[in-house]
Every structure is written in C-alpha cells, then in structure tokens.
C-alpha cells in the first residue's frame, strides 16, 4: 500500500467534532487541495497528518505503515505554516539549514544544500539576510525552501498564500505547481480559495462540517458536483427546485424539457450560469424577465426572474444587440448541463 491513507479519522474537542470520520487515499506524487469554508475541519485534518494534533479516532498510514503514534518530528515532513513561522533569531540560511543540522549533516553539506534550495526558489545569495529584511513573497519562498530541505515524504501547506496580494498569489500558485511537478512530491494544501484549489491541484477534497463532500479532479467536481454544497462552493451555481413533469421537469415559471429526475417526484437541480442560454423573445418553455445586468468585461452577467426563481446567466457581451433590463426573454436550461440532487439536500 503506497501513499497516504486516512481511515475514519475523527477529531473531537469536548462536545465539538471538528473532523468527523474522514477516509481518504492520496497517491504518491499527487497534489491535493483540502478546500472548504473556515471551520470545516480542513486545517485540523492537515495538522493531524502532520502529527501536530492526535486524532480522537481512526488511523493514518503512510506507505502502509500506521503513523498515528509517531511524533511530528519523526514523520519526515515539510510543512509551510500560514504565519510561515520563520525563526526570527536565525538568518535565512540558518532557517533553511535548521532541519539539516537537526539530522546531523555536516556544515559543508548544509551550506551546499542551502545554496541549491535558494537557487530552486529563485532567491540565490540571500543566506545571510535576516527574516525581517525580506518581502512577503520572499519569505514565502524561504518557508517553502526550508520545508523541502530534507526531501520530505509529504509536503504540507496551510493556507500558504493567504498573506500575499492577489497578483503575487497567482504567480506563486503557478510556481508552486511547477515546483511540485518537478520534484514529484506528494503535496497537500489547505485553502479556502476555490480558484486557487482548482488551478493548482490534481484532486480537490471539498469539506464541510468536518466531512468530505467530494473528492475528485477539479474539473470533475465542477461539472459533476456531488452535492448542492459543492455546486455552490465551487464557483457560481443556480440551485432550483423542480417537480417531475411530463417529458421533463417543471419549475415555477416553466419547464426543462428532457430532464430526467429519475425516481424522484421533487428535486433540486444545479446549473452553472455559463450553461444557461438566453434567447430573444418571450416564447419558449421557460420565459423570464431581465431584472439586472452586470458588465463583467469578458462576459455579461444577466439576472433573470422566471416565475418565482431567480436565475443567473453568463453570456458573451452584446451577442444579440444587447439585453435591457425589463426585456422579456426565453431561457433554455440544457438538460445535460443540469445536475440533479434529492430535494431535501440542503445547501
């Protein structure tokens, strides 16, 4: 058994269950993002993998060996903390050499390795600076270099880019991904930023209330969300209540022809705004009124009222002469773009 395995991991703090029976398998060399809103248990899960918290129940195994009782300092990890946790009393070089010295490497080996690592993160020659002399992005890279100094079995990052401004964050996402692909190291990143998760990882694990909602490749989770929560959390989604109707489904203001609800009489459907098609003229299975229009640059966001439902559509700008607020249109929800959930599944 290779890779990292979590079996039924649970963490309770008194009456609060932070992580609730999570089982996961992460293959060697994979880049996985734990994604969810704050308080969903993703950081607690990462800290248990790191050995900084003990699970209340369940097993953690690495390469087939159970590591529950192995203290953090024996797990051979690299971890980047949200605060970065660079040691303020050490220079950059000493920070990166810290794990090497602990393992008894010679001074010359340490120096050579520090040089290589700083080259790797594109900050050559800053060994002797102090941590206070670096910019946010530089500190970020130093923290990454330090975490990778001993070629760890697992590379863990807790909201690593949250302190950076938007542009730098995007650049670091690309860099981090390239670095990981080059080294082939198993990487787990905790983030609450769905764009970050989708753009970096091989797989995302969407979490909510201590449970895994879905584990899948990003595009798969986006196209085929496993629950209304995932649909809503990953990007934008229209969640609409529908009833079974003749040859399709009925919503308050019309129909979706050809959508099968399976055995259900009632259901909740999810459709992405970019899949909603707006047609001119009020004739069609689903007439709607344009109530609000937002120009987004590359696209136009159109808010529509169809019966009692508010539906948001994303359209290329001004394709048919431009829509106006108050216009009566017809919209089409393609059946193959709709994902159907049980109606009692809450968002």
């Amino acid at each position: 058994m290779s890779g990292l395995q979590l079996v039924d991991i649970t963490k309770r703090y008194g009456a609060v269950t932070a992580v609730d029976g999570i089982s996961l398998e992460i293959e060697d060399g994979a880049f996985v993002c734990l994604l969810g809103p704050s308080g969903c248990g993703k950081t607690t899960l990462l800290r248990m993998i790191a050995g900084l918290e003990d699970p209340s129940a369940g097993d953690i195994s690495l390469q087939g060996a159970r590591i529950n009782d192995m203290p953090a300092h024996k797990r051979n990890l690299g971890m980047v903390f949200q605060s970065l946790a660079l040691f303020p009393h050490l220079t950059i070089g000493e920070n990166i050499a810290y794990p090497l010295k602990i393992r008894g490497n010679s001074r010359a080996d340490c120096e050579a390795r520090v040089r290589d690592l700083l080259d790797m993160v594109q900050l050559p020659g800053i060994e002797n600076r102090s941590t206070a002399q670096l910019s946010g992005g530089q500190r970020q890279r130093v923290a990454i270099a330090r975490a990778l100094a001993v070629s760890p079995q697992l590379f863990l990052l807790d909201e690593p880019l949250s302190a950076l401004d938007a542009k730098l964050r995007e650049a670091m996402q690309v860099e981090l991904r390239q670095l990981q692909q080059r080294l082939g190291i198993t990487t787990i990143v905790v983030t609450h930023d769905q764009r970050e998760a989708m753009s970096m990882s091989d797989k995302i694990v969407v979490m909510s209330n201590g449970k895994v909602e879905q584990m899948a490749a990003p595009i798969e989770a986006y196209k085929k969300p496993a629950s209304p929560f995932v649909a809503d959390f990953l990007g934008q989604a229209n969640l609409i209540r529908v009833q079974k109707a003749e040859s399709g489904a009925a919503l308050s203001g019309g129909r979706v022809p050809g959508l099968s609800l399976g055995p259900r009489n009632e259901a909740l459907i999810s459709i992405r705004p970019e899949d909603v098609v707006i047609k001119g003229g009020g004739e069609g299975p689903l007439p709607a009124d344009v109530v609000f229009i937002r120009e987004m640059g590359a696209t136009v966001e159109v808010h529509l009222d169809a019966g009692a439902d508010r539906i948001i559509a994303l359209a290329p700008p001004k394709r048919d002469g431009g829509l106006k607020v108050g216009a009566r249109v017809s919209i089409d929800l393609p059946a193959d773009a709709c994902v159907v959930f049980d109606s009692r599944e809450a968002v």
Partner: protein, 286 residues
C-alpha cells in the same frame, strides 16, 4: 480622534493633579532623603543640616562591603533559581487552556500580593520544629525527630524564592503568551523533538526577555526587607534590612538615607540596563 499636542492651558488640566501629587509626595520626599544622606547625625536620634560625605564613607568599611556582597549574591541566586523554575513553568502555563491559566494567575497574584510579614510568618512556621514540615517527615518515618530549619540561609532562600517566583512568572507571562505557537510546531515538523525545540527555538528567541527578567527579579529580590530578618540570622541581613534597621532601631537617618540612595542608584543602573536590553529586542515580544 487623533492624538494632538495640548494647545490651550485647559488641555494641561488632566495632568496637573497627577503631576502635582507625584511631585509633592514622591519627588520631594526623595529629594529630602538625598539631602538627609549628607546631613550630620546628632545624638538623640536626630540630624542637623550639614554637608558631609561621612555617611557615604562608611560604605568603605568591611562590614558594609560584606552586607553589599551578600545582598547582591543573594538577589542573583534567587533570580537565577526563579528563572530556572519559572521559564519552563511559564512556557507550559501559556500552552494550557485559558480557564486553567486564569486559575493559575489568580493563585500567583494572591501569593504575590501577600505581605512579606505573612510569607515570613508562614515559612517560619512551616520550617519550625513544632509545626513544620519535619513533623510530616517524622510521620513518614523519613526522619527520627522534628528539626528546626529556621533561622538559616536555606530558610531565607526558600522564603525569597517563594515570594519572587510569582513575580518572575508574571513578568515572563506576556512575552511567552505572545510567542507564536507555530514556531514550535515548525521546529517539530522540521525534525526537532519538543525538548530540543524549546532549547534551540524558544530560548534563543526569548534570550533578551530572559535577561531583562533576570534584572527585574534581581531588583525585586534586592528589595526584600523582612524575610531575611524573620527567616535568617543577622549575617543573612541584606542592604534593605540594614536601611530599615538604621532608620528605625539605630535612629541613624543620615546613614540609612545614604544607603537608600546607593540602593536607588544601583537599581536605576540595573533598570536602565534592562530597558536597554528589551528595547533592542523586537523579536519574541511583538
């Protein structure tokens, strides 16, 4: 509201009363004491205005030298012992749940606020033959018969450490409770055992706090005026005891004042040193 300099005379009003009170009842008394330190003692317990350095000249006697050396050594040992126990204690204290921290803080504050008289009395009882710990050891058959452990150097040390320990912890507490816990966690994920990380991460980051605390506790211990009297023999008396003794029992105010001035100067020197040390820190305590 932005802070701005006072403009109208009325703006100075709030500080007038505090400044006047502190000037009249602290700065003036202090000045009088300095003046008395150069006055001449006359028989009958009084003194008359003069300018003499005789009171200071008495510092050069071997007796005074011995008391001074003893006071400094005692304060230094007490401070070191308090730090040796207090540093790991405070570190662990700031890592436990907030509710337990509150209970410990209440206990420490209660002990710290205790009168030296009460601490002295309690330890003299605790170390006495009739009511002391030795009775308990006899009960456990560890000792044959109860013994008196007071007065003695050990008793003085115990009392002073008891008094200064809560102070040490409370001085260390802010810096330790503001230490970012992820630094220790980072050290652990990088391969350090908790003990090793305490040694090569926590202590180095805290070294300036530790030095400043050593000095502050040193001054605190230097100020003990009753415990050496109650728990020690005359050879265990410190400078503070001597000041009290000269002022009250020997009625030699000028000499007492001269010693007090000396005590102030050495304390101020040390305070200045500790400020110098902690100003330069910038790490560990944000």
């Amino acid at each position: 509201m932005r802070r701005n300099p006072p403009q109208k005379p009325a703006d100075y009003l709030p500080i007038a009363f505090p400044a006047a009170m502190l000037a009249l009842f602290f700065v003036v008394p202090f000045g009088i004491m300095v003046a008395i330190s150069v006055f001449k003692r006359v028989q009958g317990g009084f003194y008359e205005p003069a300018f003499t350095l005789d009171n200071y000249a008495r510092f050069l006697t071997p007796f005074f030298g011995e008391v001074l050396m003893f006071s400094l050594a005692l304060a230094a040992i007490v401070s070191v012992v308090c730090l040796l126990i207090g540093v790991p204690f405070t570190y662990l204290l700031t890592r436990i749940g907030r509710r337990y921290q509150v209970l410990w803080l209440i206990t420490l504050l209660a002990v710290l606020s205790l009168s030296e008289v009460i601490i002295g009395f309690a330890w003299s009882t605790l170390l006495s033959r009739t009511a002391g710990l030795s009775n308990f050891l006899v009960f456990l058959s560890i000792m044959d018969k109860p013994e008196a452990w007071t007065p003695g150097f050990g008793a003085v040390m115990t009392g002073l450490v008891y008094q200064a320990f809560p102070y040490t912890v409370l001085v260390l507490y802010p810096a330790f409770s503001r230490l970012d816990p992820s630094l220790m966690e980072a050290a652990r994920t990088l391969g350090s055992s908790p003990l090793r990380a305490f040694w090569n991460v926590v202590l180095p980051i805290m070294r300036k706090t530790l030095l400043a605390t050593f000095i502050i506790v040193f001054i605190f211990a230097l100020g003990a005026y009753l415990l050496p009297q109650i728990l020690g023999r005359p050879q265990h008396w410190t400078l503070s005891v001597l000041v009290t003794d000269q002022a009250i029992y020997q009625s030699n105010m000028p000499f007492a004042a001269a010693m007090a001035v000396f005590l102030v100067l050495s304390s101020l020197f040390l305070v200045g040193l500790s400020i110098l040390v902690s100003e330069k820190k910038g790490i560990g305590t944000p």
